[in-house]
């Protein structure tokens, strides 16, 4: 790798922006065809391209950051800002659906019987499965913090050879130094312990529990959908309920996938105590999904019933 005299990451040409955009276009058109003609082929093609793009593009990013050392402090700052702006855009998305919900529920129209939930809609009991799901998501927020602190408190990266500053340094001049600065190398005699076992095991258990709690949440939501006495076609109640909880459910699926990727990366020692941007982004995203659920629970499940 040639020496560069600036901290920025100049990316190589990549097919993924084009393939991803094609996938998004085909999935949108395919969804229209699916809804109107019940033909799922184009939608599946688009979805396939999106999944391929997501997998391969982020594989490339992991290679660039972890293995080639392109993620300098400046680059990390840019990636963090990007993630925060992305989450902000997600907030706007949910705000729009919440707006629709409050528009319809605060002054229910006479066609609904002027009551909310509308006459004939039997809302789900907020103190049954939804309350359980609230505790599950809140617990997952705790377990992910446990994992995060186990990584932060873990062993420092082995100091980089003279003249380089490791993976955090402004000069990504030598990619080889980054691969040695990994969490808990077996021979590290300074490896501290926490709760009777080493930090790495704590991180693995904490993250695994977070993923499992996410999967349990999704399972319980699927059960609730199956048991619900109303569908998305049942008045504006069904429309707003399933748009809000459905969009949230999709985000839980994405967040769980993100955490599973982090779990695999943790197992392969890709996180150090000072450089674990992928995990941090996943944690931010997970907390965002968690907070959206709290709003859903309080306003849609509880107040809205």
């Amino acid at each position: 790798m040639s020496l560069v005299y600036h901290p920025y990451h100049l990316v190589d040409p990549s097919p993924w922006p084009f393939v991803g955009a094609s996938g998004a276009f085909l999935f949108t058109s395919g969804a229209v065809i699916l809804f109107h003609y019940n033909d799922y082929r184009l939608a599946l093609t688009g979805l396939f391209l999106i999944i391929i793009t997501a997998s391969a593009w982020w594989r490339d990013v992991i290679r660039e950051g972890t293995h080639q050392g392109h993620h300098t402090q400046v680059v990390v700052r840019g990636l963090k800002l990007g993630m925060l702006l992305f989450i902000l855009s997600e907030v706007c998305l949910f705000l729009a659906f919440f707006w629709a919900f409050f528009h319809s529920s605060l002054a229910p129209s006479v066609e609904l019987g002027s009551v909310w939930p509308p006459l004939g809609i039997e809302a789900l009991d907020p103190f049954a499965v939804p309350l359980l799901n609230t505790t599950i998501l809140l617990s997952s927020g705790a377990t992910v913090t446990w994992a995060h602190h186990a990584i932060i408190g873990g062993p420092a990266p082995i100091s980089a050879p003279k003249g380089t500053q490791g993976s955090e340094g402004p000069l990504p001049s030598n990619g080889a130094t980054t691969s040695s600065s990994l969490l808990s190398t077996p021979n590290d005699q300074r490896a501290p312990t926490f709760l009777g076992t080493d930090f790495r095991t704590n991180a693995v258990i904490g993250l695994l529990m977070t993923v499992l709690l996410g999967i349990i949440f999704t399972g319980l939501q699927a059960f609730e959908y199956k048991e619900a006495s109303f569908a998305i076609s049942d008045s504006v109640y069904g429309s707003t309920f399933f748009m809000l909880t459905g969009t949230h459910g999709l985000h839980v699926l994405v967040g769980t996938t993100f955490l599973i990727v982090c779990f695999i990366r943790l197992l392969s020692n890709q996180f150090t105590n000072s450089h674990h941007l992928g995990l941090e982004a996943a944690i931010w995203y997970w907390h965002f999904v968690d907070v959206v659920w709290l709003f859903l629970y309080v306003f849609v499940y509880w107040w809205g019933s």
């Binding site: 129209s109 006479v110 066609e111 609904l112 019987g113 002027s114 009551v115 509308p118 006459l119 004939g120």
Partner: protein, 81 residues
Amino acid sequence: MSEEKEKIVLKTAPFDNRFPNTNQTKNCWQNYVDYQRCIKAKGEDFEACQYFKRIYRIMCPNHWVEQWDEQVENGTFAGRI
């Protein structure tokens, strides 16, 4: 002059504190529901029920009333009667 005899009383629906906004949809609807509840409890000939009917005949567009009457008949009206 026969002023006293020919005096016509014109009375529209009075202001209702429950519906202070410009949009009077709920006023119309509430009186329609109240009338339906009234005649269900007291029978169609009960004099006091006629007040609600007079208000909703004033407040509601006619085609709403026709539509709701049809729904009440079919048991599909979206109100608790």
